[in-house]
Symmetry: C2
Subunit: 353 residues, 2 copies
């Protein structure tokens, strides 16, 4: 649906939305607009225009004598046509760069930092999935004798994901035997995908695997299988506290809803794989995608890393009344920073944003 709006209507719509976002959440009255932004026409004219915008479905009313609030369509129009697309200030960019620089070598801190920084920058809740390769591939195995009959298996995958498992054996193991076995696996399995594992180590003309080696292989296969479909489960979030001050969350029911979205991925489950395969920043406003759970929330997501290689998703979740320009800039900028980090780690195949 393409809407042709007169310049004046565009201007008024934009002001209503900006005012509503900053007020915060107070319905916007014609008189307020007139006074605050010194418009050239009277409040009656503004009222006429507001009524027109309401007929177009971009604004609504809570009751006859209340000011206007934007509809989902109104926000959508704002995001696509009216919004000032300003980047984060150089000062903020430097601060963020600096924070990431400090943890650049600590892979397990990345997503925590990303979520924390994003939440604080966008003033909303943030979600981040860890970077994962499109395909799960074996990289390295380590077997460490922890205690006579207990072995710690550390599996490193091609994208840097690490899984640790413990194995209990009948007989005591020497570290030497374990290291040899690990080396054997490392030589044979380098780069293997899940379906290649078996074939690489069980070759017709060779002695079969020992029971322990068989067990280890099974554990590796199971771990890799588990990681294949795990994107949603690994959703990390931050910034809940940031949001609870907002008027939308004055009643606890709303907080519960939000928790279900953030902790259990209800409602954003489908959006994440979608964002992983898209370019640029995705904005979903309210119930646009037919998700009833999300009717009162907006989600701004972006992939970081490179599609098909190692990549993850990060984004912001908040009430539909959210500062879109700032949120979008934040998501865009932080995803570019994360992309650069990944590029550094996996070689310069990726390009900087």
């Amino acid at each position: 649906m393409i809407l042709e709006l007169t310049e004046r209507r565009q201007r008024i719509l934009k002001l209503v939305i900006q005012e509503y976002i900053e007020s915060p959440a107070k319905p916007v009255a014609s008189e307020t607009l007139l006074k605050k932004y010194q418009l050239q026409y009277s409040s009656a004219t503004i009222r006429n225009e507001l009524a027109a915008l309401e007929d177009l479905g971009l604004l609504t009313h809570l009751h006859t004598s209340a000011g206007r609030i934007p509809t989902d369509a109104g926000y959508r129009y704002f995001v696509e046509n009216l919004m000032d697309r300003q980047a984060l200030s150089p000062q903020e960019q430097r601060t963020i760069q600096h924070q990431f620089y400090q943890v650049r070598s600590e892979l397990d801190q990345w997503i925590h930092l990303a979520a924390a920084v994003l939440a604080r920058t966008a003033h909303n809740a943030a979600v981040v999935t860890p970077p994962r390769a499109y395909e799960v591939r074996f990289k390295h195995l380590e077997l460490i004798a922890i205690y006579e009959t207990v072995v710690l298996l550390v599996l490193v995958l091609h994208d840097g994901t690490i899984k640790q498992q413990s194995l209990t054996t009948e007989q005591p193991n020497s570290q030497e035997d374990l290291s040899n076995l690990a080396q054997y696996f490392n030589q044979r399995l380098e780069g293997a995908t899940l379906d290649l594992l078996e074939g690489r180590v069980t070759v017709p003309d060779e002695p079969p695997l020992t029971p322990f080696a068989r067990m280890a292989l099974d554990v590796i296969a199971r771990a890799m299988r588990q990681l294949e479909g795990q994107i949603n489960e690994a959703l990390h979030h931050d910034g809940l506290l940031e949001m609870l001050g907002q008027p939308e969350f004055a009643q606890v029911d709303r907080v519960k809803q939000l928790l279900r979205i953030l902790e259990q991925g209800v409602g954003i489950g489908t959006l994440i794989p979608q964002a992983l395969n898209s370019e640029g920043v995705q904005v979903v406003i309210g119930g646009e995608h037919g998700q009833d759970t999300m009717r009162e929330y907006s989600v701004i997501l972006s992939r970081y890393g490179r599609s098909g290689e190692v990549a993850g998703v990060l984004g912001v979740i908040g009430p539909t009344r959210m500062p879109y320009p700032r949120s979008i800039s934040s998501v865009r900028y932080i995803s570019s920073v994360m992309s650069d980090l990944l590029a550094e780690l996996y070689g310069e195949r990726s390009s900087s944003a």
Copy 2:
């Protein structure tokens, strides 16, 4: 302070507290007690006794014509003297055992499962710290070439903790060189504490470390230093959603308080190291320990694992009005299950509870 209460007063106090916990959070009236528990004395007598218990500081009033609610001291008396110390039902124990059995070899899942199970069993928020050794000791190092000049360093500590770091070098590295260096470190550093690291690898009559080896050693030292004081930061929690239905959290401010406790460790920071060095289940009711933040919350903590060896802390946090018997049983049982898991992993030095 030792309080001598007549049997009747004890009985009434116990009923008031149980009723208040289950009502939920409704002040308890004399008439209610009489009807619901068919006491042998009249409501007037009960009122006299209630007034006496109030004089002793075990109960209070919100206003003259309101029923009684317990004070912190009342809860304390209840927990120490009146509570029925029932264990979890065999059925529940089996379910919990079963859940832990399923992830017994996946170390990184333990604390997630523990928090989830504890929260659901105790119907409150749960906190769990990962198992950590009293002393941080080197166990194993792995250096993996990820990309020409990028190396993934995987450090395994003696307690099973894994840290991953990336290193960037000037020159490309061969996996063979890396493996050799790792092996060299593994031989020299086995079991070394932080202050021994340096001495083990820089021996007077040997060639000095290569720049890369020096860098790796620094990273190891930094990681170990970081882990030394990290108990609080690693606090994992679950069950927030579980609690929001309770009347205590009807207003969002309370939710914010709770979040600050769970996410930032405000108010429980000191309790955790304390629990780590104590035997048995610790119960802190309301502001007993002078923590103003915690005035309206109770904490039930227990160590799991063995003091001085590998151990962690788990527990329950809720409003002072919490089902103490059940929470305490849950914490006790799950800490014993976790202790058993640890014992299995690190040998039979620990005893089952």
